[in-house]
């Protein structure tokens, strides 16, 4: 182990040290001043983000080839850290308001981000698994953070049980792969898989790994925990985990499949095709019947997992894979920006006693809070995939990759389910603009700043997507 090993994961290492220090420092911060902890957590994330950006262009392996530093990991680390910052910004006022302001919240959020970042860097299945647990365990705790609240406890427990279940699949899959390839290193697995005919053991192991990740990214039929966990968890936690955990899950999934399992594409393409189509269809259709905004957004996030999964389908086609990976990464930005914004608005409208979460509670929002309603409309329109928002650009990028790979039917399913989605997203807009009501809205600087900035970015970045496109398409996985 050399110093260079640590610089490979420098942002992760910094954040880990910072998180531990913060845990101690929090003891000395008085109860009524927990805002300081939030500030320190944000500072740690920002420092880590700064180091991440300073690594751009750097490419190497570390820890005897167990973690990689490349464009792909830098891209995702930056995105995960930004999600962390947004998570802190949304939690700052929310925790105070809900009387659950405790310093551990921010520490757990940092640990979860560390896990997420490691998932993007891992090129060894053991590290993937460790990182996944490091990501998940703090999230289980966070879900149950409002602990006297039964819903929150239920969410935590449910998430934990199904999370543990899915980890079982993942570990079993890794074990089978180890049995077939005698290694857990992704490159070595690739070498073993391309050397001979694909062994059924390897294929089965890969399928189990896919199931394990399927739970994390909430793909149908592994999505059952999502609505309950998202609804029961404190909203600020939901916002964070629906973005961060999903990004990390996709990061690892992309890394593992594109790097190690490309010889399995013959078998896997159809499976991914079905998974993606099923997720889009089921997520969007069930979302229609939801009356609770948190559940609706939960199903919406399931549906979006389906859209992002489209990017995986052509992964075995060497000519299209870079484009489709770039499309997937770009969509992760789109999803993070829009999703955080929408949850920010939900937090603003939610009330302490647990009211303000029905879609009908948004009635009349446009009259008294026009900017908030406009921001929410922008997020909804972006989730549908309509101009002039990032949602359209993201979907177009995805559809193009899928068409390029020759999967026109999947693209047709994608656009048809988008039409279905318009129905339930517009219902929020209908309530805000076309019905009367007096919603009570929480105004607080960081909260307003977060949704305001995200709404602006959703429109503005869609007009100049050039930079993001270039960034996403240069964020390639380096094959060492």
């Amino acid at each position: 182990m050399t110093f260079s090993d640590f610089t490979t994961i420098l942002p992760v290492a910094i954040l880990a040290v910072w998180a531990c220090a913060l845990l101690v420092a929090d003891l000395f911060i008085p109860k009524d001043r927990k805002g300081a902890t939030a500030l320190l957590a944000a500072l740690g994330l920002a420092i880590s983000l700064g180091y991440t950006l300073s690594q751009i262009g750097d490419e190497r392996l570390g820890f005897s080839g167990m973690v990689a530093l490349d464009g792909f990991s830098i891209f995702l680390n930056a995105l995960i850290l930004v999600c962390g910052l947004l998570g802190v910004a949304l939690a700052y006022d929310y925790l105070k308001r809900m009387n659950i302001e405790r310093g551990e919240y921010y520490v757990l959020l940092l640990f979860s981000s560390i896990g997420a970042m490691l998932m993007a860097q891992a090129i060894d299945l053991i590290i993937v698994f460790l990182a996944l647990e490091l990501l998940s365990i703090p999230l289980y705790v966070l879900s149950a953070f409002a602990r006297s609240n039964v819903n929150s406890e239920e969410a935590g427990l449910k998430y934990f049980l199904l999370g543990a279940f899915s980890s079982g699949f993942l570990v079993y899959g890794i074990a089978l792969i180890f049995g077939a390839a005698h290694t857990t290193n992704l490159y070595a697995i690739l070498a073993a898989a391309s050397a001979s005919t694909v062994s059924p053991l390897l294929a089965f192991g890969a399928a189990l790994v896919l199931i394990g990740f399927g739970f994390k990214i909430a793909a149908v039929p592994f999505h059952m925990w999502t609505p309950d966990a998202y609804q029961g968890a404190p909203t600020a936690v939901t916002a964070f985990m629906s973005s961060s955990a999903k990004i990390a899950g996709f990061a690892a999934l992309l890394r593992v499949f594109v790097t190690a399992f490309s010889p399995l594409a013959v078998n896997m393409t159809d499976v991914l095709w079905g998974l993606s189509a099923l997720t889009m269809v089921v997520g969007n259709i069930i979302a229609i019947t939801q009356t609770d905004i948190k559940r609706m957004l939960a199903y919406s996030s399931i549906a979006h997992a389906g859209y992002i999964l489209m990017a995986f389908v052509p992964y075995g086609n060497a000519a299209v894979a870079p484009v489709s990976v770039a499309a997937g990464l770009f969509y992760l930005i789109v999803y993070a920006v829009t999703n955080f914004g929408a949850w920010g608005v939900v937090i603003a409208v939610e009330r302490t006693e647990g009211k303000g979460l029905a879609i009908s509670d948004y009635s009349g929002l446009a009259k008294n809070h026009p900017t908030l309603a406009a921001a929410m409309s922008i997020f909804m329109v972006s989730l549908i995939g309509f101009p002039p928002t990032l949602g359209l650009v993201g979907k177009v990028y995805l559809f193009r990759a899928v068409i390029d790979g020759g999967f026109v039917v999947l693209a047709v399913i994608g656009v048809l389910t988008s039409i279905i989605s318009a129905f339930y997203y517009l219902r929020v807009v209908v309530n805000m603009y076309m019905r009367d009501g007096e919603p009570a809205v929480r105004r607080e600087f960081w909260l307003d700043f977060t949704w305001g900035a995200l709404a602006f970015l959703t429109v503005f970045l869609s007009l100049i997507p050039q930079t993001l496109f270039a960034w996403a398409s240069s964020a390639l996985m380096k094959l060492f």
Binding site: V415, M434, S473
Partner: protein, 508 residues
Amino acid sequence: MEFILQPLTLVIFFPLVGVFALLFIPKENKDAMRWTTLIVALITFGISICVLTMFRAADVNLQLVARYDWIVVGGWNIQYFLGVDGLSILLVLLTTLLTWISILSAWTAVEERVKEFMIFFLLLEVGMNGVFLAQDLFLFYIFWEFTLVPMYFIIGIWGGPRRIYAALKFFLYTMAGSILMLLAILWLGIYGNTFSVPDLIARGGIPVNIQMWLFIAFALAFAIKVPMWPLHSWLPDAHVEAPTAGSVILAGVLLKLGTYGFVRFNLPLFPEAAVSAAPWMALLAAIGIIYGAAVSYAQADIKKLVAYSSVSHLGFVMLGVFALNPEGVAGGILQMINHGVSTGALFLLVGMIYEQTHTREFRLYGGLWKITPVFGTIYLITSMSSMGLPGLNGFVGEFTVLLGAWGAGQNGVFYWGGVWLAAISALGVIMAAVYILYMFQRMFMGPLGEIVEEAKKHGRPIRDLNWREIAVIAPLVILMFWIGLYPAPFFNLMAPAVNHLVGMLPLP
């Protein structure tokens, strides 16, 4: 700076200046909002007139081109590409004209949430002009979809009792059609490595069987917008529930986005497919003409009647376009303008009387002529224009279209159906006279109607048009006579472009 000062960029984006200004006007100051919006819309109209003066009709190429790279990275080649030619110049003028007319018409009709209304209206103008001027498929698609959003709000917020249903139906219907077009656009982008329409046309060579699929994907989007029978069912709901200004823009411009799409994209991009689809499209158009006219006759609601008459009138446009000869296409484009002018005017007039009586059941009216002679006269002229009386604009358009369709029947473009398609469609002209005269007679002739008496009893007798209302309607009436009596300038503007377009088609 050079980028912003392009005339076409200005036409499209100048309304955003108004949007920006409106954001800073306090909520209570409704008149300031109205004036700001009107002035911005008038300046936009002025800019479009400048574009007209710079436009040279003899040149068949795109003019006043603004072309910059927009998203050129990682296999994408999307340009900010605007241009105007004979096919679009008149439609741009129609858009900028109808926008300020609609804003003026909403002066007293919209009292609630004026700021939002005006913002949505100006945003709508941005989208509509963008659709007519964009020459890059991706840019076009963005404008095309964007027009849905402000219109959705205009119907949904300021509409009638069933406005939410109508707005949602409008949104979902149109989106359902256009999203398949997105896939076709992406396919074309990958195929040609460019989204530029002229480049794709020049490249050509799309295999005929694929052309068929692409044609269908584009046609579905446009046919829903037009709307062609049998995809029209969103239109009556949207029209009946929309506020007057919304109806005017919806009928006047938004429907033209569909017919324009056929002319601009379907014909030149997929010429072989267009030729083989011609009689089928003409058949749908003919059914639409007859069906729309017949259903119009059965309506009791004036707005519904006019909405169904739009289905009939736009059938003529489609018949002309798919006649695939210069007369047909030119007649079709002129008919788009005519429909915008006449139907726009009809919706305005209906709105003016509705503002006073709050009913659109024309059986409740009666004898209006005696009380409101100015209103009656203008209504009569507009009705005559809509039913195609010689001397007014409707006749010129419909006659040219039928001429084109007859020609297409004779020279084999309608390789089945022949002249019968034209002959059946001609019946629509007669049927139009029936339903329009029926409505006119019920409203203006005979004894005073129920609602007229009731208004008098409540101390608010129905008044004639005021000066604002006359100013709103006057430009349209002038256009009806101008196009009706001397259509040559209009045909001259589009003739070279139309001939060029038809020349590209592999006709039998």
